[in-house]
Symmetry: C2
Subunit: 462 residues, 2 copies
């Protein structure tokens, strides 16, 4: 019988995260203070994040030890299994070998706890009593709630009101893990009060929820704020996944020709890709693809520029691919991919041609998800279906070229809490919402692209 | 670092199911034909089930080979991990070691595919084109839909109408896997038509849905019917789980003092317990506990008697613990435990004192589920919470007695599609619905208990 799942023994769980910052062929531009325009320093961030996370944000150490307490709790779901998708390969009649990493086995059902656990731990040892955060559809809020419960921390989640009302399951998950989840805008913060005064029926937005969560953290000395993607330390924590993949593929006796992950803020994609990007800088020939929706084509259509991380212009200016901070993506079901920007690290890799981006229309992603469900059993999150779609594209291409490629994609989470999206697709109620050219220009407004850095040269990393 | 999850290599996946029939200390009474009252023979069942499943229903072979095609697809989620619940142990401050088997990693989220896959396979090779079944809350219907997709069979699910309307997520899962799911009563069968004529707004019941599914199978030569619990061959297929547990505990260097599983129709409990019951017959000292709700106390309060498996008296009469086929359990959230009877094999073991039963009120089960979620991360199905509750009871007892017991419970599935139940509990809207004594007597009506068989004697099984 052929091996279907490559398990890594718990003793092989990576003991360090991989930090790509020192290996980048072109150095990163610094984030800028939204008020002064000067580079942001540790002191600016201290009211918001515990110091060890701030240090990780700018660390030049290539590897960073994972504390024992985090490792112990990672074992609740890690190492996650690497699957060989034999049934999908047979269905597509492709010579490609297709592997996928199953991050859906975590209790929250996705990759998000990889960083939520680390952030909860560093807050715990820094004396934080309560973590605040925002969440859209609830994937991130539920992951952080779970990890706060595991470390005995309070958790306060500002959930975008329209999702709070429409998607109760994620909210109840948060409450089951003991978190306090409130609809945003809320009367609990000045930011929320101001919005509610103007519009008591405001449906809320991720931008407003961020403002509320940051304010709630800053106003209470026992509270800190936590972010689920975009930042360097978040991507760092996610690399535990890619490092596992490396070991598992070695067990399988394969090395990937193509690596695929969906990208909203970028942490899911980066978590799998970064260790392989390191190999690519060292000379390996790998096609590394970040997948986004055609309705929110940050990487394939947005320029590289300094822009705010949020719509209300409170966060530092980040050097990234962006559609403009005022851009409101169409209401596609892959809520986690509806972000106007892209992690600075991922943006930098794109500029350096170390990775490439591909955009997929919504209908193709759900068709791909159904194909996967009927061959391999698993029902994917709508975000994850973007990676599945490109994996299928690549497998078909391999068939056309007659090449026996090794394709690896990140199955970032299951869709069992997102079934309404599948129903809408099956009933023919969805459309692609692909973004017309003129709307991109309108969204960008007066954003000024940064000059593209010099091309990197292949070299070796010590 | 202490080992958290005991994985079994795929090469150690059991190659045979364990059949307890030849090892039973007292032989089983035969099922009786509902019309004639004579023992049911293979010919009576041939229009409903494929012959290989009928043979398994009465087989006296102690082990039955698992076909290669089933093994290959079992690998999509099997072997499932055995967890050591260190965080729960610490929280309870118990000297007991608590293990749980995580059956929630299957794509459908529960143990149900263990038999759904086998039944789909045997139907496939018998030339069946379409399988019909009924489902209540949808756990079984979704598992069978998934397994039919994996073997390229059509699947038709009659879903109790009230659940069809109230719990859309499971229905959409079935449709995503390609099944045809209709609300029952439906106009597609005579049984459904008759009900709808009398009451067009009938909310349906499991009894009606069974009638429709059986009729749909019998009326179409390309269709067969499939049942998700109660029958001997269903319990047989589930033993793959207990056989894995045996191997995993051996790796851990432990042997269970207490084994716990929740029991609705009995297949989940039996799947874990039967291989250990064999050890018990051979002289091992194990406390094996089947857990049921106090609102549906089939084993703890119902007599052992011949009774129909369904409310409309179409099925054979089965020798089992029962509350009477007309008993309608209170609307607790653990829909899978709302069954008036109990698998004949499980009933027989109870009579022989090889296992015992414990009933738990609904509120205690949800409290247990929340305790597990906040210590071990995982949110359980409401059914599973019954096992969690008794595991906690036993761990507390071990603390009081100062004994270092080994407790093993079956974590039969996750609750991510059942979050409304947790919300109702958190909001204080649930009650226990424990069944008053007088209602039990009313439900039983004229059911005549069978004489209790002779006590078994401990012996050795070859």
């Amino acid at each position: 019988m052929k091996v279907k799942k490559i398990f890594l023994p718990e003793s092989e769980l990576p003991r360090q995260w991989y930090n790509i910052l020192p290996d980048l062929p072109n150095p990163m531009e610094p984030p800028l203070h939204p008020g002064t325009g000067n580079p942001v320093g540790p002191d600016d961030l201290a009211p918001i994040f515990p110091m060890q996370l701030i240090e990780q944000e700018v660390s030049q150490d290539q590897y960073i030890d994972i504390p024992e307490e985090i490792l112990e709790k990672y074992l609740i779901w890690r190492p996650t299994p690497l699957y060989r998708a034999y049934n999908l390969e047979r269905h597509l009649d492709t010579p490609a070998k297709i592997y996928f990493k199953n991050e859906g086995v975590s209790p929250a059902g996705s990759h998000k706890p990889n960083t939520a656990l680390a952030q909860a731990y560093y807050n715990k040892i820094a004396g934080t009593k309560r973590i605040t955060t925002e969440t859209g559809a609830g994937q991130w809020g539920s992951a952080l709630s779970m990890c706060c419960a595991l470390f005995g921390l309070e958790c306060k989640v500002f959930m975008v009101k329209v999702s709070y009302n429409q998607k109760p399951y994620r909210r109840i998950m948060m409450e089951t893990w003991g978190a306090n989840c409130v609809p945003s805008p809320s009367p609990e913060t000045k930011a929320g009060q101001a919005i509610l005064e103007k519009d008591p029926d405001s449906p809320g937005s991720l931008g407003i929820a961020i403002s509320e969560a940051v304010e709630a953290a800053v106003m209470d000395e026992n509270s800190k704020y936590s972010l689920g993607s975009v930042l360097n330390h978040v991507l760092l924590h996610q690399t535990v996944n890619g490092l596992e993949c490396e070991k598992q593929l070695e067990i399988a006796g394969d090395y990937p020709d193509v690596i695929i992950g969906c990208a909203g803020g970028g942490s899911n994609f980066a978590g799998m890709a970064l260790p392989f990007v390191r190999d690519k800088i060292n000379g390996k020939d790998i096609d590394i693809i970040a997948v986004e929706p055609t309705s929110c084509p940050t990487m394939t259509r947005g320029p590289f520029a300094y822009d705010f991380g949020d719509t209300v212009q409170m966060t530092p200016l980040l050097p990234m691919h962006t559609l403009g901070h005022s851009f409101v993506p169409a209401p596609i079901h892959a809520g986690g991919l509806r972000y106007h920007g892209m992690a600075p690290i991922v943006s930098q890799l794109l500029l350096s041609d170390l990775i490439r981006a591909e955009a997929v229309p919504q209908l193709e992603t759900f068709q791909a998800g159904i194909t996967l469900a009927r061959t391999e059993g698993f029902i994917s999150a709508p975000e994850t279906d973007h990676a599945v779609a490109v994996a299928i594209r690549e497998a078909i291409k391999a068939k056309e070229e007659g090449k026996e490629k090794v394709i690896l994609f990140n199955w970032s989470g299951h869709g069992l809490v997102d079934m309404a999206a599948y129903e809408a697709y099956i009933q023919g109620k969805l459309s692609d919402h692909s973004l017309p050219e003129e709307e991109i220009h309108r969204a960008l407004g007066d954003i000024e692209p940064l000059p593209k850095p010099q091309q990197y040269r292949k070299g070796t990393i010590s």
